[in-house]
């Protein structure tokens, strides 16, 4: 019978223990989709930022953090921001 997977923290690895929401927020902020002024009105602005990101990267524009958007965020990429604040 297959064993149940056990996840371990590997020494020396940069800890990336973030939830998908936290990861998405940091992505949107890092690459310029969520700008500083919008941080105070988080919910509405996050949807706007997701829309902006989806449009910019040619993804279906839903304004929601769906699987396709999350997967795009996890793709290897260039570190230069997409949108400049």
């Amino acid at each position: 019978a297959p064993l149940k997977s056990v996840f371990v923290t590997f020494p020396g690895e940069i800890l990336k223990n973030m939830t998908d929401q936290e990861f998405a927020n940091s992505y949107l902020e890092r690459f310029g989709y969520l700008n500083l002024e919008e941080r105070s009105t988080r919910l509405a602005s996050k949807s706007k930022a997701l829309l902006r990101m989806q449009r910019h990267l040619g993804l279906p524009e839903t304004g929601e953090l769906n699987t396709e958007t999350l997967s795009a965020m996890k793709q290897p990429r260039c570190g230069v921001p997409d949108i400049r604040n």
Partner: protein, 577 residues
């Protein structure tokens, strides 16, 4: 496509780049080639040219680094962020950084260039057959010296073509040992090491001593990664150890067990549970060529595109037969225009070649012989400026010297003056014969004696001395005490009152101006005192307290402590073209 705010771009088309360090993942020559091809992507569709510098400051400084690597944007370990670059400008602007926690390849797995053997440095061919067995990585099988090797064709048994794979037993890179192999064991801070180590470094790069005692000899180099080495983790550079145990279970190959991201890893000792030493297994890696071509796009002024197939799209994807997307072409040509003129051809004799008098240009020589057209526009253009009249069109001057407070630039019987006071305004050209009628058209060197205000001119094996309108000469260089083998003086630097240094290639002499003779103890070697400047400089002069050594259209500026303080363009930095 997008450009950066304000359409940031270089104000010149002859861009320079410098590779500051190398990744251990590929042979330095493969990395050099990947960067050169990445620049070529852009030079093929624009008038831009890219020249590699080996010292000093280049427009685009290229480097590898990990995590915090000296700028405000740290990398993030394997995968995720691959690289970043800055838009054109001074300082860090224009520079490109590559995350060395990535596995850099040509996009399809380890790119292993061989050395020695009989394959003339060809790449390994994986898989290959050796004694009927298939190998997908370099092997030490069949050898007693433990050197990894590979076949460079699919079948060693039939073709017998092979070379040696990267190994610290074969060579190191960078450091100060000219690529010498590691010496094991070696001593570092009193400890003995039997393999490459990251001890003593904060950047995680593996190094070794190239003599048995680093503490004594200080000779070292960086260790190349073997193709079987793990990436990242806490055992960078070590090979997987099979079988290994993990949570009590034995593994004979890389596994993704224990991870939520599906990445394959292995232990580098026989027991992960005991030693906790691990790393990611080599995968296809990221194409350094493709990532570099993208980053250089930023360094030239392109921002991210939202066209998924464009090179400037922010996400990485591997493309086997790379072609620059029309969106990228449109973007870069918006900034720099399309490529004009023919492809480079072997150099032809031009006005740059011999330093001999040339006849004045004739009307037919000034007129472009064939109209310059571009495929896109088919518009005929002509050069509005006569190159023989514009100092900004001169690539290499015969001589440059500060005379009577103004920089004088000599070329083919003419000279220009640049005022240091009046914002660098260029005046001229003026015929040399009008002011110094005794001189020939080609001047190799000129300098003004700070004490007597006499002006010395050198051309070939002769020199002249002007004092106001009075002239002495021509006299032979031998009269100064220079050997008959000295065919010209290419530069002069005033050294205090009454002394001047005269340069010719590897040698320089000190001349006593009053006695008009060379001091004893000369010639001396230029690079012993003026380290870091080209020994084949064709112009050497003193200007605003700094020494300038020129080669082609570049200059190396050196301060009075003999440190190179800047490398730049004569045209843009000195003439302000």
């Amino acid at each position: 496509y997008q450009t950066f705010t304000g359409d940031l771009k270089w104000d010149h088309n002859d861009i320079t780049y410098r590779i500051l360090n190398y990744s251990p993942d590929m042979d330095p020559s493969v990395i050099d080639d990947a960067f050169a091809r990445a620049f070529k992507v852009w030079s093929e569709v624009t008038p831009l040219t890219f020249t590699r510098l080996y010292s000093g400051t280049a427009d685009i400084m290229v480097s590898f680094g990990k995590l915090d690597h000296g700028d405000p944007y740290p990398f993030d370990g394997k995968d995720g962020l691959l690289a970043h670059a800055y838009p054109p400008g001074e300082g860090i602007q224009g520079d490109a950084h590559f995350d060395d926690d990535e596995f850099w390849t040509l996009g399809t797995g380890p790119a292993v260039k061989t050395r020695y053997g009989n394959a003339e440095g060809a790449m390994c061919h994986f898989p290959f057959l050796f004694e009927g067995k298939s190998y997908s990585s370099c092997t030490t099988e069949g050898r007693s010296d433990n050197l990894p090797w590979c076949s460079t064709t699919a079948n060693f048994d039939t073709d017998k073509k092979y070379g040696f794979c990267p190994s610290e037993l074969l060579y190191t890179f960078s450091g100060n040992s000219d690529g010498a192999a590691c010496v094991f064991p070696f001593v570092f801070l009193g400890e003995t090491y039997n393999k490459c180590t990251t001890e003593g470094r904060s950047d995680g790069y593996r190094w070794c001593a190239t003599t048995s005692n680093f503490d004594k000899d200080k000779k070292y180099g960086f260790c190349p990664n073997r193709d079987t080495a793990v990436i990242g983790g806490n055992s960078e550079g070590e090979p997987c150890e099979f079988p290994f145990t993990f949570l009590g279970k034995t593994y004979d190959s890389c596994t993704s067990e224990g991870r939520g991201d599906g990445k394959l890893w292995c232990a580098t000792t026989s027991s992960y549970d005991r030693d906790q030493k691990w790393g990611f297994c080599p995968d296809r890696g990221y194409s350094l060529f493709l990532v570099a071509a993208h980053e250089f796009g930023h360094a030239l002024g392109l921002d991210h595109s939202n066209i998924r197939d464009a090179l400037m799209y922010p996400m990485y994807s591997y493309e086997e037969d790379f072609h620059l997307h029309q969106d990228d072409i449109a973007g870069i040509q918006y900034l720099y225009g399309p490529k004009t003129g023919p492809d480079p051809t072997p150099p032809q004799p031009t006005d740059e070649s011999p330093k001999t008098p040339t006849p004045p240009p004739t009307p037919s020589a000034e007129t472009p012989k064939t109209p310059v057209t571009t495929p896109d526009t088919a518009v005929t253009t002509s050069r509005p400026i006569d190159p023989s009249q514009d100092a900004c069109e001169v690539n290499q001057f015969d001589a440059i010297s500060e005379i009577q407070g103004e920089l004088h630039l000599f070329k083919d019987g003419q000279y220009w003056r640049v005022s240091a006071q009046r914002n660098g305004e260029i005046k001229g050209p003026f015929p040399i014969a009008d002011k110094w009628p005794a001189l020939p058209a080609t001047i190799d060197t000129a300098f003004e004696d700070l004490l007597t205000k006499k002006i010395f001119f050198f051309s070939g094996k002769r020199f002249w001395v002007y004092h106001g309108q009075n002239v002495l000469g021509p006299r032979s260089l031998e009269k100064l005490g220079l050997g008959s083998d000295v065919d010209q003086i290419v530069g002069a630097i005033q050294r205090g009152k009454g002394k001047v240094l005269l340069f010719n290639g590897e040698n320089y002499w000190r001349m006593d101006v009053k006695a008009q003779s060379i001091d004893k103890g000369y010639p001396r070697y230029t690079d012993e005192v003026f380290g870091g400047v080209p020994v084949d400089s064709h112009d050497v002069f003193l200007y605003k307290g700094s020494y300038y050594f020129c080669r082609d259209h570049f200059y190396w500026q050196m301060n009075s402590r003999h440190q190179v303080s800047r490398v730049g363009y004569v045209k843009y930095d000195i003439l302000k073209c």
